[in-house]
Amino acid sequence: MKATVIVTLKPTVLDPQGMTIQRSLGSLGLDDITDVRQGKIFDVRLKNGSREQVERLAKDVLTNPVIEEYRIIWE
């Protein structure tokens, strides 16, 4: 079984990475793109289909709750 964990910065938290990418796009002629925010994604495989372990992984290991939030997509 597979799952995808998506970890992103909370919307109010500054994302220097995304901003820097966005700011450099003008010179590439990609000026329709008004905002870029960067996050992480984890493709996870698991043996017994124990969803609970993926939840714990996402919450306790992959996410820093002070600045990030996560969502899980099940396949």
């Binding site: 220097p16 990475q17 820097t20 990418i21 450099s24 010179s27 590439l28 960067q38």
Partner: protein
């Protein structure tokens, strides 16, 4: 003979390269701004270390779009000497001027320390003053120096004698323990097929005076001067 050192936003070793070339190698050197569209008048171009655009997307990824990179690609195609050090190597790889890519260090951490490099070939414009197998002590300072290429590309690099430096131990043995970052075949530096573009993760610009712990890096700049003189 004139050297040019490119400044990208976020470069931070441009002064080291400048100082090494001017003071120690004794050659004229000028800065090149990343927005410049020409490198006319320069005989050799240095892409210095640092964090161009913060390395925020991938190392070297945003810098490759700087206008100066088009000029440097032309310059290289015509045989001009280009050396990319650390972040400069990452930029050259991103820009496709060198094969392969630089991944995150296997240990996931930035590492700043001296390494031994074994000179694998003297048939380049950057190593013509060395002997084959010569050991150089030159420091690294990077978080993404793990050289990667698909197996076909790697084979071509080796077949064409393009691997210039490998990480080695103090006795010159190329071992997994001597590999600080997980690079394939312990590769620390490569040249293009034309052999006029070098990318290397270690910093010769931090090892050009014995007071800094080593002066071995000078050999690389002096080889470039030598190549330009004899050309």
């Amino acid at each position: 003979m004139k050297f040019g050192v490119v400044i990208f936003p976020g470069s931070n070793c441009e002064q080291d390269c400048y100082y090494a070339i001017r003071t120690v190698v004794g050659q004229p050197v000028e800065y090149i701004w990343h927005q410049d569209t020409s490198v006319k008048g320069f005989d050799a171009v240095v892409l210095p270390g640092g964090f161009a655009y913060g390395d925020y997307l991938r190392t070297g990824a945003l810098a490759k779009f700087s206008p100066v990179m088009r000029a440097i690609a032309d310059f290289a195609k015509k045989g001009g000497l280009v050396i990319g050090i650390c972040n400069g190597f990452q930029i050259l790889a991103e820009a496709g001027l060198l094969p392969g890519a630089l991944l995150r260090n296997v240990g996931l951490k930035y590492l700043c320390k001296f390494e031994y490099l074994r000179t694998e070939t003297t048939h380049t414009d950057f190593t013509n003053l060395m002997t084959k197998g010569q050991l150089l002590r030159i420091p690294i300072g990077h978080g993404d120096g793990n050289f990667f290429a698909d197996s076909e590309t790697l084979e071509r690099i080796e077949d064409h004698d393009q691997a210039v430096f490998r990480y080695a131990d103090a006795h010159g043995r190329v071992t997994p323990e001597a590999n600080p970052n997980g690079s394939l075949n312990n590769i620390a530096g490569i040249v293009n097929e034309q052999r006029n573009v070098l990318g290397m993760m270690p910093h010769p610009d931090r090892a050009y005076e014995s007071i800094l712990g080593s002066a071995d890096g000078k050999l690389i700049f002096e080889s470039m001067v030598n190549a330009l003189v004899t050309k």
